[in-house]
Symmetry: C2
DNA sequence: TGTACATCAGTGAACGCGCGTTCACTGATGTAC
DNA sequence: TGTACATCAGTGAACGCGCGTTCACTGATGTAC
């Protein structure tokens, strides 16, 4: 390996160390990430960080992007660990993976799904990776649908046309043949999943539910019933 | 009115003005509320605020408490505006009131349901008022239940015993005669409501659903179907 | 009604802290001949 | 292999800003006689 690439390798390691330290500080300070704090933890002078990141916001953006990636990978791996035919198992696996990831990385979860950070506006690039989980969920439903195994719970409320149109556009974008009614319920599940995880992570469930793990699995099963995934 | 009570009245007005200004600043800065910022907006010196609030955290606590109260009142008023017999109408009214309140006061909503504020720990008193909305929802379901009008959608997943126990405790505390299965679904609706509002307020729906209002009402109707509120 | 005193709101300076970012610099490491 | 030069990482001081909180103070307002 040439000398040039050695320098490059050290540089890469340094960038990794900065990100790792920043993630740790995020855990301590919430979203109020400070460059000086990161530098302090690394035993380095704050200005040295500017060799690696042009500004605090750029570091934040990288952290956000990688967090989406990390969450998305965790969910995807959980889905892949189960046979394609076991759609309910995959559904629950993805939901559980999201919850586990959030529990293991609460501050990164807050970064992605908490209040917007004051003085920081997320660039465009952070929008696409945010969709990974909901796409996974939709894929699972699509598998069950195309296998003719989907038995959606019959509910009286019809899909309004405006919403049908929005869903149609998304379906066409993904070129999945999903009926609008199914995607509608997948979205309901998506909201439920992140709503419940957010409640749990931010402590909004304290004093009500103690068997949080059981409760989570139960709720995700109810939604799977609603969508009609085979048991 | 005596002179003493006049001074007291001026003091009360001042406190109100501080809180109002703080709420406006919250809108600009997110949760990073600063006393100096509030004082600046009021054309007053920062130290003067200490005549009215012993510390920044106390001001924050008051704002949080009053926000819960404001949200709770909005929801309660919406429910009362409809006849007791119209349980679905009341359900939707409460949900819509929550959404409207959140849309009108996004930063206060973030204060209540967003990421925890770095360096601030909410005192005990903030826990009880947080329950108002879910209690309202449970009351509506209880009305339908005791009138024998509840037709819950049949879903296969049974209630795990651990969760049943948690729900039992809550039911006994409230002395509502609600079956555990019903409260279970009320909770699902509660999570869905705040999950969806959070998604909308924090911009997580951008680029997917455009007919947000219709979508919201639709989802809340689906949940009402699930609980089995009469149409 | 008038005066002496007490209460209280608001001032302004100060303390000690933290922050992001710039900039000229030192010294080590890598490159070219 | 040895030397001259270029590249780059990290330093430390500085700028200009913001923050919460304390404290002695000035004046105005209220109270008691």
């Amino acid at each position: 390996m040439s000398a040039a690439s050695l320098r490059a390798r050290v540089r890469t390691e340094m960038i990794e160390e900065i990100k790792a330290t920043a993630r740790k500080r995020l855990a301590a300070d919430g979203a109020g990430l400070s460059l000086r704090g990161v530098a302090r933890d690394m035993g380095i002078v704050a200005s040295a960080l500017y060799r690696y990141f042009p500004s605090r916001d750029d570091l934040l953006t990288v952290l956000i992007l990688e967090s989406y990636e990390s969450l998305g990978n965790a969910a995807a791996r959980a889905a892949e660990a189960r046979p394609t035919g076991d759609q309910r198992g995959r559904w629950l696996a993805v939901c559980t993976a999201v919850r586990d990831w959030a529990t293991a990385n609460p501050s990164e979860y807050g970064l992605l799904y908490g209040s917007p950070i004051p003085g920081y506006t997320a660039p465009r690039d952070t929008i696409a990776p945010a969709a990974t989980v909901v796409l996974l969920l939709a894929d699972i439903a699509a598998d069950a649908e195309s296998a003719g195994l989907l038995r959606p719970a019959p509910l009286a409320t019809p899909l309004p046309n405006s919403v049908r149109g929005d869903l149609r556009i998304l379906i066409d974008e993904q070129q999945s043949g999903l009926p609008e009614e199914v995607l509608d319920r997948v979205f309901l599940g998506w909201t439920q999943l992140f709503g419940l995880v957010t409640f749990e992570i931010f402590g909004r469930l304290d004093g009500t539910i103690t068997a949080v793990g059981d409760y989570f699995e139960h709720q995700m099963n109810l939604i799977a019933d609603l969508i009609g995934l085979p048991a």
